[in-house]
Symmetry: none
Subunit: 218 residues, 4 copies
DNA sequence: CATGAATGAGCATTCATTCAT
DNA sequence: AATGAATGAATGCTCATTCAT
């Protein structure tokens, strides 16, 4: 507008705007994860972002709008996982271990993940609309499903266990370890945090998943 | 009055008080489960209970006090499970199925359970202090642990899988099904609610837990 | 009523009632002095009295009613001072000292006095009605006024100073010492509490009152 | 805008903010004086100021914060008195009259003064901290003290009366006249308000202060 | 007379959102 | 684009008073 040059010239104003939006986004992601969509305060987000409160409304419409974008981003980041997409038919026999390990990794690298998911589930999924989900639906899921189906046909995976159940089990094991560490640790009176404990649990969970709980399969 | 027994006469005043307190409790349990400790409104609880707001403070001290009592109650109700306590050494081979089934039952009969647990985990377990846990710590857990250990000695359960891991897996499977139904169902684009689906998933989860994911154990 | 005996028989019930009322009165006096008519809480008064809250309403009508009775009592106690009433014409030359000393005494024995007075003045005297004042109006004041007038006629007291001014000065000196100790002590950065300081100040105030501030009366 | 001077331009927004804060301050001063720190209502202050309630918290942090600023202001206004600071060694013989007259003036121009002081004394001085007092401690007090000491050395003022006592007497006379007018007037059954009465009392109080209560100093 | 439960108006404070510059 | 002031609907909690037994 003020600049006469046509094309993709980016004015300093625009550049600053992009930075401002990004800062809001990061602050929002952090605080929504920590305190939930209701507990996070707009003032707090603005302050953490070092930005004027009103900008949140200018860029995201409302607190809920920002929350929505944060949600989509977190889902998307989890969805496009290269390690899982790189699995091939040759990996079918070992894929369970890879998936579990990758899920553990995703949670560890993205500690907000289970928190945002938990809040969504508690709120009945009100944060995202149907439209949003089509964008999100993980690329790797279709890929894993294809491999699993092949595995079933080859007689590797059980025919009497659907892919949905298979994946949900892997989801739940990894998710629960992070999401319910506090209450479970208190209930069992056993420490669950820490790298060593985590690795041990992962190994044992995988053992059950592969071979079942029984010592000998008669 | 109605009772002829001397000594323990209960005045109508006391009876009303007990009812009032119970109504507050029920309303609190419902709303805390639905909206969380932060989202639930004191006015709303009072209105749902059909009770004067001030009574909440008279009986529970504060909103947090009511929340705490609700939490304890829900935990306690889950903790004292007769079906699990009734298991004997003869049931060791089938106990996994019983436990999973019982967990599913607990969640189904007590839909607030996973919600309150989720909120506690999100809030870092601030609702209950260390002291309360001793009361809560499930009686059945010690019982199951004893059976599991016997099972391990008898060569029924794997020696390389701890009871903690074993139980956490059963916890997570059942918990996750309820707590993450919404997001998972949308993510996988598969309906997860409904009696039939639920039973099917339970059966399949048990299959994996017992025999592992592989079709044949070579 | 229940008792058939005529005359002044006092039932145990009545006796208890008298005690209850007295306990409320004492608790009210203490708390009204400490926290004022607005700051004092009915619950607190009842608790301190060890009495059911409702009894306050039964015996005194309202919180304000209790406050009123407490006020009257405190005034009355200050009004009927034997030491001042015992002054005779022979004491005229020394009466100023006696009055000041007595006022100091009254304040010291009745620490609530200035506080209740202060609150009344701040509230515009809403605690007491016109009627009440006739009962209260101190007996000793008329007595002192008579002596002062005689003193003036005898040439002892100045003719150009009214009794009103004379007494108000004695009032203010003693009252202010107690009522404004805190702020004055901070303003002058000088400690004002303590027996020794108090005596010294009393002596010096009397010196001025008797002889004026100047070293020599030329 | 209106000013042509560069640099110090004040935006209309800032101007409005200053006005808003000032309005809150004035309303607070009025209502705190009238009803005390506990009796004054935040809603009422906001309404009287014609301002949104939340602005009080934005500008003063809390009701207590506003009260504190009001207190400091009232003290400060009383502390910096030009007439008293202008007194010189030549005025020593007449300074008592000037001080009393100035104190009467301060009270008359600042009817909130004794009220706020009274509340502070009743509340145990909780409104201000030690730090605040250092700012407040009157400039004129040190000045008067210096003059009084010189007066004592010159043989004008009595050696056996401390400055503290001297000033406290002048404080109390003037303060009491305003603070206890209501109860005293009722107790003595004499009207104390009104310009004429006030002047008469002032004159007579000064007479005593200068020459004592006795008609002749033998 | 005494008691404990109940009531309803009120109170300080917070917060998402909008306005004006 | 950015800022700081302003708004109004809550939000958890208190308290004088009344009711019912």
């Amino acid at each position: 507008m003020t600049s006469a040059s046509p094309g993709q010239t980016v004015s300093p104003k625009q550049r600053r705007a992009v930075r401002t939006k990004a800062r809001i986004f990061r602050a929002g992601a952090e605080l929504f994860a920590a305190k939930g969509p209701a507990g996070a305060r707009v003032d707090e987000i603005a302050q953490l972002a070092g930005v004027n409160k009103e900008r949140i409304y200018a860029y995201f419409g409302s607190k809920g709008g920002l929350y929505r974008e944060v949600l989509i981003d977190v889902y998307a980041r989890a969805a496009h996982n290269k390690r899982l997409l790189a699995l091939t038919e040759d990996d079918i026999e070992t894929m369970t271990g890879t998936v579990v390990d990758t899920f553990f990794e995703i949670h560890e690298e993205n500690p907000s993940f289970w928190r945002l998911l938990s809040w969504e589930n508690l709120n009945g999924g009100s944060g995202l609309r149907a439209i949003d989900w089509q964008q999100i639906r993980s690329a790797y899921i279709a890929h894993l499903q294809a491999l699993y189906t092949i595995g079933q046909k080859r007689g590797v995976f059980r025919a009497d266990v659907d892919f949905t159940t298979y994946l949900m089990l892997l989801f739940s094991m990894t998710y629960f370890y992070f999401s319910n560490r506090i209450t479970t640790s208190r209930l069992l009176d056993v420490p669950l945090s820490g790298e060593a404990v985590r690795r041990q649990i992962e190994t044992q969970l995988l053992t059950i998943t592969r071979h079942g709980v029984f010592a000998t399969e008669a």
